[in-house]
C-alpha cells in the first residue's frame, strides 16, 4: 500500500509541507501570514518538523549550535541512521558537522573559496557565459534556466572538483535525488541504500582517477589534506565532494534564474541597471535577499523552547533564510525589491559558523552571469509567465524560464 505523505496542505500553522505546490509556486504569502498568526509553525509531516519564520527566531537557531545539530540538513522522511557518519562529523562535512569538529573541517576548505581564489575563476566564468549566450543567438524564445543558468555553476564546480563536464546529466540526477526525490524515500526503503551506493561508486571512480593522475583541483587537494596529522577518512572525502556538488550547483543556478526572472518582469529595473552599472553590487545583494534560494535545516539536539514552542530531540527544524529576509521587523519595505537598497544585512548565505562556504563563488557567478546576459540582451521578457516552474524542496529557484529575445 502506498501512503500519500503529501496531501494538499489546508492549515499552514499545524500541517505545513515545504513541497506542497502552493508553497513551491509562491511561499511568501504563507510566511507573511504565519509571521502574524503563528511565527513558529509545526507539522507532523516528515516525522515532526518546526518552521520559524521571523528573522529573530531563524537567526537565534542558526547561532545555537548547543541545542540544534547540523547532523542532517535536508528534511526527509528518513533521519540519519547507523549507516551515516555520526555527529559531530555527519555525512557531508563541514555542512553536517557540529563543534568542535566543524571548525577543523571548515578551516581546511575555506582557503579554496576565499575571495582572492574566487577572483581567479572570474575570466573562466565570463567566457563560459559568453559561450552559452553565443549558443542562444538567432533564437526567438530561449529558456534562461535550462539553456543558461543551470550550466554556469555546474561547469565551474566540475572544473573545481576536476570531474568531467560531460557528466553533467549525472550531477543533475544526484542533486535532484538528494534535494527533491530523496526526501520522500522512507527509512526502510532499499532505494536509499542503492542510490547511496551508486553515488559512492561514482566518487570512488573519480578518486581512483585522481590517485593515478593527481592534478591541481579540489579532489587531489582533499586526498592530500590532513586533519591533526592524519589523512581524511575516505567517507569524509566523499562527503565533502557530495557537499560541493550538491550545494554548489543547484543553489547558484537558482539565484541566477531568479535574478533573470525578476529582470524579465521588471523592465524599469533592467533599464536602470543598464544606465547605472554602479548599482550592480547592490542589485545583486537585493536579488539574494528577496529570492534567497536556500532554506537550511537542523535537528533538535536537546529539548528546547523557541517562541514558546517545545522542540524535542530529533525533531526537524526548517531554517527558512528566505523568510527571515522578508521579515518587516528586520527590513524596511521587506516585500519590495529595491535594487538600490544600500543597507542589506540579508541572511541568504546563512548566519554564524555555517555561513555558506561557497558564498564568494556564488556571488561572483551570479554577478558575472547577470552582467553578461544584460550586455547581450538588455531587453527581453517572459514568453509566457504561466510556464515558469519552480524547484520543490529546500532550494528554491526557477527550473524553466521561457523568455522572448528581441529580434
Amino acid at each position: 500500500m502506498t501512503i500519500d505523505r503529501h496531501p494538499p496542505v489546508t492549515d499552514w500553522a499545524t500541517d505545513f509541507d515545504h513541497t506542497d505546490p502552493v508553497w513551491v509556486n509562491n511561499p511568501f504569502p504563507i510566511w507573511e501570514e504565519l509571521r502574524e498568526t503563528c511565527p513558529v509553525a509545526h507539522s507532523n509531516r516528515y516525522g515532526g518538523t518546526w518552521l520559524p519564520v521571523t528573522h529573530e527566531h531563524v537567526s537565534s537557531i542558526a547561532y545555537d549550535t548547543e541545542n540544534f545539530t547540523s547532523r542532517a540538513v535536508v528534511v526527509s522522511e528518513a533521519r540519519p541512521g547507523p549507516n551515516d557518519l555520526p555527529a559531530p562529523i555527519g555525512g557531508a562535512p563541514p555542512i553536517t558537522s557540529d563543534p568542535p569538529f566543524h571548525a577543523m573541517a571548515r578551516r581546511l576548505m575555506l582557503p579554496a573559496f576565499a575571495p582572492k581564489k574566487v577572483e581567479a575563476l572570474e575570466p573562466f566564468t565570463r567566457e563560459l557565459c559568453n559561450e552559452l549566450l553565443d549558443s542562444l543567438e538567432g533564437k526567438e524564445v530561449v529558456d534562461a534556466a535550462v539553456d543558461y543558468a543551470q550550466h554556469i555553476p555546474l561547469r565551474v564546480i566540475a572544473k573545481m572538483l576536476g570531474f568531467p563536464a560531460s557528466d553533467a546529466d549525472y550531477f543533475r540526477h544526484v542533486i535532484h535525488l538528494i534535494l527533491e526525490e530523496g526526501i520522500n524515500i522512507a527509512e526502510e526503503d532499499d532505494t536509499r541504500l542503492v542510490e547511496g551506493q551508486n553515488i559512492d561508486a561514482y566518487f570512488d571512480a573519480q578518486i581512483a582517477d585522481h590517485v593515478e593522475n593527481p592534478r591541481d583541483d579540489l579532489t587531489t587537494f582533499l586526498l592530500n589534506a590532513e586533519l591533526d596529522g592524519n589523512k581524511l577518512m575516505h567517507e569524509h572525502v566523499r562527503g565533502t565532494m557530495l557537499l560541493i556538488l550538491v550545494a554548489g550547483i543547484d543553489t547558484t543556478w537558482s539565484a541566477i534564474g531568479s535574478s533573470l526572472w525578476h529582470l524579465a518582469k521588471n523592465p524599469a529595473d533592467r533599464k536602470r541597471l543598464a544606465n547605472e552599472p554602479e548599482l550592480m553590487p547592490f542589485a545583486i545583494e537585493e536579488m539574494l535577499r528577496a529570492y534567497a534560494p536556500v532554506t537550511m535545516a537542523r535537528m533538535v539536539a536537546k529539548d528546547v523552547e523557541v517562541g514558546g514552542c517545545p522542540m524535542k530531540v530529533d525533531d526537524w527544524v526548517l531554517l527558512p533564510f528566505p523568510a527571515a529576509n522578508r521579515d518587516p521587523a528586520f527590513f524596511d519595505r521587506a516585500d519590495e525589491v529595491l535594487i538600490d537598497r544600500e543597507e542589506n544585512r540579508h541572511a541568504a548565505f546563512g548566519l554564524g559558523i555555517h555561513r555558506c562556504l561557497g558564498s564568494n563563488l556564488a556571488r561572483m557567478e551570479l554577478r558575472v552571469a547577470v552582467e553578461e546576459w544584460l550586455k547581450r540582451y538588455p531587453d527581453y521578457e517572459l514568453a509566457d509567465p504561466s510556464t515558469v516552474t519552480w524547484a520543490a524542496g529546500q532550494v528554491r529557484g526557477p527550473r524553466s524560464i521561457p523568455v522572448r529575445l528581441p529580434a
Binding site: F113, A114, P115, E285, E342, N344, F349, S359, N360
Partner: protein, 64 residues
C-alpha cells in the same frame, strides 16, 4: 573615524571587503581585518558606514 572588525563575530561573508576594499582586507581563510589600524581617510566615511550596515553578523563597529 575608525572601524574595527570583531574577529570572533566575523564569519567571512566578505561584504566589507567588497564594499570598501580601501578600509578592509581578507586573509587566506576569507575573514576580514581592518586596514591601517582602522583609520578611515577623509571622504571614505560613507563606505565605512556601508560596510557596517551590510555585515550580517554585526561584526563591524565604528569606534570613534
Amino acid at each position: 573615524m575608525r572601524v574595527h572588525v570583531d574577529p570572533d563575530k566575523c564569519q567571512g561573508h566578505n561584504r566589507c571587503y567588497a564594499l570598501a576594499p580601501e578600509l578592509f582586507d581578507v586573509d587566506d581563510l576569507g575573514n576580514a581585518v581592518e586596514l591601517n589600524d582602522g583609520i578611515v581617510p577623509e571622504g571614505l566615511e560613507h563606505k565605512a558606514r556601508l560596510a557596517v550596515a551590510n555585515c550580517p553578523e554585526y561584526a563591524i563597529e565604528i569606534t570613534e
